[in-house]
């Protein structure tokens, strides 16, 4: 089997068995990035020198017997994570000149675990988008069909892993930004529980929703990386001080007797028929594997999208006020006065979608409108969270589609924000409630991948990963690679 056809877990095993060295592995993937990236636009920065230095250190650790389970495995980071001494753009002109002065905790932990950093991936500007078309650096292409979007906002990470030009990559998920692109390119992706993974050094979008996670071929790969990323960080005030389970060991938990709830609201109008049929077939397979499948209703869940488009822009308008043209980021030329400096620096530095969200957020927080919009949305958010809590009193895992359709054409939805926002109709609920969720590939419609979404209760990552792993032992959708990248 060629090196890139192996999952991250298989590559880690190969390194341990000394089938190949970390330097060989890094060179292999760097060559694949160089060949494929001009068409995919998945990487914004390739850190070849850093990768080879990391790999040499990993080989030394293997030789010395001090290597860990991830030593020598190449990974990429979404360009939202600060990387000390490496450009960190967040997909924006605003940060086109920004070289991060420190590492995000996620970056530091994965480096300490011995991973090899090959580069930073493209993304929707400030993670605001569902198609990767809002990036200042141009859209990312879906490796299954270059005319289609890869999803977003972690579209660069998703496309890079799907084309196997990197074995795994980090992502962030505020309303579906890991799961939706994972579904649209046919890989696995997990958004952990709010507070499970540190957000220190992860550029903030909507702080009550943002969470860091992983995009990789298999659930086993996600488990390996999550075990290294998760855990308490005193530098993140929302980080939860709770023990991290051994997600890899717990993959073996049997599916027999696990109660799986099929979310009625996720199979209503709006779901593409062929997509729904594949998701239903995957759920039938979970039943054959021993899961107990029942129907579940969360009546307030359909209000997720309007709730999100009040709460997320409100938090975005506050978070992005730090980009003032004074301390870092873009500054306009020859400002007349301080107000002119603020307005033109921000007007020039932010793209259209980011400005739209900042203004939406400014409006819903402004005097006279706060109660009608923001407070109302936070109350509906309580209702949605209560629905999910009730559901998890009955079942262990909720299932449904990740996205209403397979990947759509580049340009198809850019002019209509509402249509674009509805891509995240099935993913936003998990962010509003802070619960973990993942997407795993479950088939193809017209040559394009479809994702099955699994949602768990707070800190239920082990069960999600074990359920996905049991499914992936019986299916090979997560092993399929687009012909051009095989």
């Amino acid at each position: 089997m060629s090196l890139h056809a192996r999952s991250l877990a298989e590559l880690a095993a190969g390194l341990k068995a000394k089938e190949f060295s970390a330097v060989e592995l890094a060179r292999h993937f760097l060559a694949r990035i160089a060949a494929a990236n001009p068409a995919l636009n998945a990487f914004l920065t390739v850190t070849a020198e850093r990768a080879l230095a990391d790999a040499a250190r990993a080989d030394a650790a293997q030789a010395a017997g001090t290597a860990g389970p991830l030593t020598g495995v190449p990974i990429a980071h979404k360009d939202i994570f600060c990387t000390d001494g490496i450009k960190t753009s967040c997909g924006s002109k605003m940060l086109d000149n920004f070289v991060a002065p420190y590492d995000a905790t996620v970056v530091g932990r994965l480096a300490a675990a011995g991973t090899v950093l090959v580069g930073k991936t493209n993304m929707d500007e400030f993670a605001m988008g569902s198609s990767n078309e809002t990036s200042y650096y141009g859209p990312v292409k879906n490796p299954w069909d270059l005319a289609k979007v890869p999803g977003g906002s972690s579209g660069g990470s998703a496309a890079a892993v799907a084309a196997r030009i990197v074995p795994a990559a980090t992502g962030t998920d505020t309303g579906g930004s890991i799961r939706q692109p994972a579904a649209l390119v046919g890989i696995s992706g997990i958004k952990p529980t709010y507070g499970r993974v540190s957000r220190y050094g992860m550029i903030a979008f909507a702080s009550s929703l943002d969470q860091a996670g992983i995009l990789a071929p298999s659930a086993e790969d996600c488990a390996l990386l999550l075990r290294a990323m998760a855990g308490f960080d005193p530098r993140d005030s929302t980080s939860v001080d709770a023990p991290v389970p051994d997600y890899v060991a717990e993959l073996a938990a049997p599916l027999k007797g696990v109660r799986v709830g099929v979310l009625k609201e996720f199979f209503a109008a709006g779901l593409d028929g062929a997509t729904g049929a594949l998701v239903e077939a995957a759920i039938a397979q979970l039943r054959e594997l021993g899961a107990e499948v029942v129907g579940v209703s969360c009546p307030n869940l359909p209000l997720s999208v309007p709730t999100y488009y009040v709460v997320a822009p409100a938090e975005c308008s506050s978070n992005l006020s730090r980009f003032d043209g004074v301390r870092f980021g873009h500054r306009c030329k020859e400002p007349r006065d301080l107000m002119d400096l603020y307005k033109r620096s921000r007007g020039e530095g932010f793209g259209a979608e980011v400005k739209r969200r900042i203004m939406t957020g400014t409006y819903v927080l402004s005097a006279g409108y706060y109660d009608a919009y923001y407070l109302k949305a936070q109350k509906v958010r309580s209702l949605i969270t209560a629905d999910l809590k009730r559901a998890f009193a009955e079942v262990d895992v909720l299932v449904g589609p990740t996205s209403p359709t397979p990947a759509f054409d580049i340009g198809a939805k850019v002019d209509d924000p509402i249509t674009m926002y509805l891509n995240d109709i099935y993913t936003i609920g998990a962010n509003l409630a802070g619960v973990p969720a993942m997407s795993v590939p479950c088939g193809f419609v017209g040559g394009l991948p479809v994702g099955l979404q699994l949602i768990g209760p707070h800190f239920g990552e082990s069960r999600l990963l074990a359920t996905a792993h049991a499914y992936q032992r019986e299916t090979d959708f997560h092993r399929r690679v687009p012909a051009a990248y095989a």
Binding site: P101, Y309, R346, K355, T362, Q378, V380, R381, T385
Partner: protein, 96 residues
């Protein structure tokens, strides 16, 4: 909900964003559509519902000892600043 050009100009000013004449009608249209879209929240009955304060029930913001834990790295941080003089950030004159 339908916004006017003046509404959007007011919002842009509050948000400290320069919006060009050409961009303005696009935002009048799309912001109006977004606000109309989120109005479906009004259908939800929330009279006795507490607004959500934290995604994790019972989590409270931690306190830490009031101790110096950071070292002085201003030179590295200020390397990203557009304009610095003598370790100070430089902006247009604000006091006449």
């Amino acid at each position: 909900m339908s916004l006017t050009r003046r509404d959007v100009e007011g919002i842009a000013h509050l948000a400290r964003l320069e919006i060009t004449e050409g961009e303005l009608p696009v935002y009048v249209d799309s912001l109006s559509k977004i606000l109309s879209f989120v109005e479906q929240l009004n259908a939800a009955r929330t009279a006795d519902v507490e607004p959500m304060a934290h995604p994790l029930e019972g989590e409270v913001q931690r306190l830490r000892p009031d101790a110096v834990t950071e070292t002085d790295r201003h030179q590295k941080y200020q390397a990203n600043a557009p304009l610095v003089a003598g370790a100070l950030y430089v902006v247009p004159k604000v006091i006449e």
